[in-house]
């Protein structure tokens, strides 16, 4: 075999190289994580759909679900997406005070949603739907409770950003990604709720 022909190695035209910033890495990381969280909720929703018919002697979804209450909670959560967006917009324009106000409002709305859920859960338990009463109860509390934990964690995350800003001063452009990452998560949790509201509550009321 003859020696391979020597050719000139031209570089692909690449611009000057720089390392990706924490912002670029973290935001991509959050997207990948949320993709995996989609699979998590998909498994839970599938479980609920396959289980919700087993009501046994416990109350049925039609008897229990209080659409005005849940619709209110839904409204509160969706509103928190708006306030989150307003906060992010304020941060992008460097308006520190406005960001902090919207952060507080978002956290209060998130807590209000979790609070309404606690009220709802307590009512159901009093009316006889405990997690071990029927498989509808088990899968309902697991799915909706799991989402509630997501919201609670989201509030803790926003609180941590709030504390960070209080301690380290206004959120500069170098740290903006911290808020952007949290907001991606927050929107995701809200969007998932729309699916849960439809599949669990709306369909549960009509079926």
């Amino acid at each position: 075999m003859s020696a391979p022909e020597v050719r000139t190695l031209e570089a692909t035209p690449v611009g000057p190289y720089r390392l990706p910033t924490p912002a670029e890495n973290t935001k991509l990381g959050i997207w990948v994580w949320l993709a995996s969280d989609c699979a998590l909720f998909a498994a839970l929703i599938a479980t609920y759909v396959s289980m919700h018919g087993h009501v046994g002697h416990a109350p049925t979804p039609q008897q229990l679900f209080d659409l005005p209450l849940t619709a209110t909670a839904t409204f509160v959560l969706l509103l928190s997406s708006l306030t989150m967006g307003l906060g992010l917009e304020a941060a992008q324009h460097g308006e520190h005070q406005r960001l902090m106000r919207w952060l507080v409002v978002t956290m209060i709305l998130g807590l209000a949603f979790v609070g309404l859920q606690a009220v709802e859960f307590t009512t159901y338990v009093h009316r006889g739907l405990t997690p071990d009463a029927s498989n509808f109860g088990a899968s309902f509390f697991t799915l909706v409770g799991f989402h509630g934990l997501h919201v609670t964690f989201g509030v803790a995350w926003l609180l941590s950003i709030f504390i960070f800003v209080v301690r380290k001063g206004p959120l500069g452009p170098r740290d903006l990604w911290r808020l952007e990452a949290a907001s991606l998560y927050w929107y995701f949790v809200d969007v998932v709720w729309v699916v849960i509201f439809t599949v669990v509550y709306l369909l549960g009321k009509v079926s």
Binding site: P4, V6, R7, T8, L9, E10, A11, T12, V14, G15, P16, Y17, R18, L19, P20, E24, N25, L28, G29, V32, W33, A35, S36, D37, A39, L40, A42, A43, L44, T47, S50, M51, H54, G56, P131, D132, S134, N135, G137, A138, S139, T142, F146, A156, S160, F164, R178
Partner: protein, 640 residues
């Protein structure tokens, strides 16, 4: 105590770097050292899993034997499967991914170094929690796939299906695998971001070494396959701890739900095990054939197709549960179709060797053995994908033969090939080739003597997971042969361990490029310095180093660095040296806190469980907001 707190605080701020050896391993965020931690711990778990297999084969060597009790036998096959899959083969691959991927793409570290450390400690915590069950009331005993309702201890028609599960074993399964699973998921996310964002200039997607492609695809499978399993474990945990009945048919639950959610994860999981092996083989074979990889694009395409299809075949594990002919036919068709992209890979490896100047090093021997054994395993796999035939094969030793041909003959052979190929880069010393040959032939012969007879045993009707069999069934001969094979296989592993020890003490120095390699890692000293690349290289070909050897002056060309960031990345431009992250103990703290939660949950001490969770979250938030100033390392003299 105060001194320790002081020390932790100081290290978190990066003040104290003259720490002891143990402390430096606990706090490391260097992808290479984390890779070594993965390789070392998975090796220990591998020996445990091997011991469990050894005991089982001793029990099965003769009919009507009583080497171990039947109850212990159930625990042995359960823990053998769990250990080999979750604690040995998968983390061994992750170890090589950790060490090699940043080197192969021309990066100084992974995208999230501290998250990487957290992944490792969570994996180790999960493995230790799972194995601690041996000492704390008995190991899980319902098989690695832990079918419901055996896993719930439910009573069906007055009969308890698993009287043993009123022991705690299954709780260790549920909790231990969740811990390890979180670690694996974080690892998956980390490597997706690393491979997409951290590539050196010129390292375009279609120039990525195939091992990097395999790592990316593996990570993506992890990201989508682990969540259903996590949910399955959560549901089982709620069933066992709070008295619900998700999987209890007597209470309107559905035992098949466990199977569905398990195999939606479980089948992609076997591709998580084999994909990195495909990648390793695709690095070893071209290097030792002195040819570029044949059909690079089709190799990448095949990987992507296999990954996609791995999510569409799970019900072939459930042909006999009564899903009906339509569902069975669909899953049979998708399962058989996977053989097509896999066949593409096999032929590409053969074509790479064809006409090449092959050097049969130990690594190459293992790579060739991989092809042979994996094809045998693949053929029995296609046989199992035929539903009518599967009614015969299902739960027989035929299946045991199949899974070991793809997991030992496939994944483990590739891991041995990778060990002989890459350990010199990691340790700086070559493994002995003469011992390597003994190691290879003993493992290859031992493996085939052990597992090929299992095909016959399966076709003769021997069910898997039986603790013994009567003498008059005529199963004794092949079982004895199989156990003899295990002795040979064990001897091969012992030779490997001796080779490792010998190489560490007085192995021949490897030098930067012992194999006349093609890819970026062989341009670096062995072992690789902390900062990997003194200068970020410019990648000008699919086989970057080889192209520079043939067409350039044999050295990589440094990349042009953007002005604004020059201070951080360009060694010669910054008088202080190269910027690297500081060590931190926090990932280890998170893992310890979650281990406390795990044991508290297993023993139902709820306040402690919540305390552990809060501590873990506190440490995670500390990790998120503590600014890491990093420090500077001066590149060694002679390094460009």
């Amino acid at each position: 105590m105060a001194a320790a707190a002081e020390r932790i605080g100081g290290l978190a701020r990066g003040e104290d770097r003259s720490a002891s050896a143990v402390w430096s391993w606990l706090t490391t965020v260097d992808h290479k050292r984390i890779g070594i931690l993965y390789l070392f711990s998975s090796m220990i778990f591998f020996l445990f899993g091997g011991l469990e297999a050894f005991l089982m084969r001793l029990q099965l060597m003769r009919p009507d034997a009583h080497v171990v009790s039947f109850a212990l036998f159930n625990q042995l096959f359960t823990m053998h499967g769990l250990t080999m899959i979750f604690l040995a083969v998968m983390p061994m691959s992750v170890g090589f991914i950790n060490y090699m991927v940043p080197l192969l793409i021309g990066a100084r570290d992974v995208a999230f170094p501290r998250l990487n450390a957290l992944s490792f400690w969570l994996f180790l915590a999960g493995g230790l929690v799972l194995n601690s069950s041996w000492l704390l009331g008995g190991a899980p005993n319902a098989g690695w796939y832990n079918y419901a309702p055996i896993n719930t201890g439910a009573v069906v028609h007055g009969v308890s299906l698993n009287p043993g599960s009123d022991t705690l074993g299954i709780d260790f399964y549920v909790i231990g695998l969740q811990l390890a699973g979180i670690g694996t998921l974080l690892s998956g996310i980390n490597f997706v971001v690393t491979i997409i964002n951290m590539r050196a200039p010129g390292m375009t997607p279609m120039r990525l070494p195939l091992f990097v492609w395999a790592s990316l695809i593996t990570s993506l499978i992890i990201v989508f396959a682990f969540p259903p399993f996590t949910i399955n474990l959560v549901l089982l945990m709620i069933d066992r701890m709070f008295g619900t009945g998700f999987f209890d048919p007597a209470r309107g639950g559905n035992a098949l739900l466990w199977q569905q959610l398990f195999w939606v994860f479980g089948h992609p999981e076997v591709y998580i095990l084999i994909m990195p092996a495909f990648g390793m083989i695709s690095e070893v074979i071209p290097t030792f054939s002195r040819k570029p990889l044949f059909g690079y694009s089709s190799m990448v395409f095949a990987l992507v197709v296999i990954a996609f299809m791995s999510f569409m075949v799970w019900s072939h594990h459930m042909f006999t549960v009564g899903m009906g002919p339509v569902v069975n036919s669909i899953f049979a068709a998708t399962s058989m179709a996977i053989a097509v992209p896999t066949g593409v890979k096999i032929f590409n490896w053969l074509a790479t060797m064809w006409g090449g100047r092959i050097r049969f090093t130990t690594s190459m021997l293992y790579a060739v053995a991989f092809i042979v054994c994996f094809v045998i395993g693949g053929m029995s796999g296609v046989m199992l994908a035929v539903p009518p035939a599967d009614y015969q094969f299902n739960d027989s030793y035929f299946l045991v033969a199949h899974i070991h041909y793809v997991l030992i003959g496939g994944a483990l052979m590739a891991l041995f090939a990778a060990a002989y190929y890459w350990l010199p880069k990691i340790t700086g010393r070559l493994l002995n080739e003469r011992l390597g040959r003994w190691n290879f032939w003993l493992v290859f012969i031992g493996f085939n003597v052990t597992f090929f007879p299992m095909h016959f045993l399966g076709l003769m009707g021997m069910p898997r997971r039986v603790a013994t069999y009567p003498a008059n069934l005529g199963l004794g001969f092949w079982n004895t042969v199989s156990t003899v094979g295990v002795f040979i296989l064990t001897a091969g592993i012992v030779v490997f361990l001796y080779n490792l020890k010998r190489s560490a003490q007085h192995g021949e120095l490897a030098g930067p490029d012992p194999w006349d390699g093609r890819t970026l890692e062989w341009s670096l000293p062995s072992p690789v310095p902390e900062y990997n690349f003194a200068e970020i290289p410019l990648v000008r070909d699919r086989d970057p180093l080889f192209a520079e050897k043939v067409h350039g002056n044999g050295r990589l060309v440094p990349a042009q660095i953007a002005e604004a960031h020059a201070a951080e990345e360009h060694a010669s431009a910054h008088p202080a040296g190269i910027h690297v992250p500081n060590p931190t103990i926090l990932p280890f703290v998170v893992a310890v806190a979650l281990t406390v939660t795990a044991f508290a949950a297993i023993f139902r001490v709820w306040p402690l469980a919540i305390l552990g969770l809060l501590a873990a979250f506190f440490a995670i938030f500390r990790l998120m907001y503590d600014h890491d100033p990093g420090h500077y390392v001066q590149p060694e003299e002679g390094a460009r």
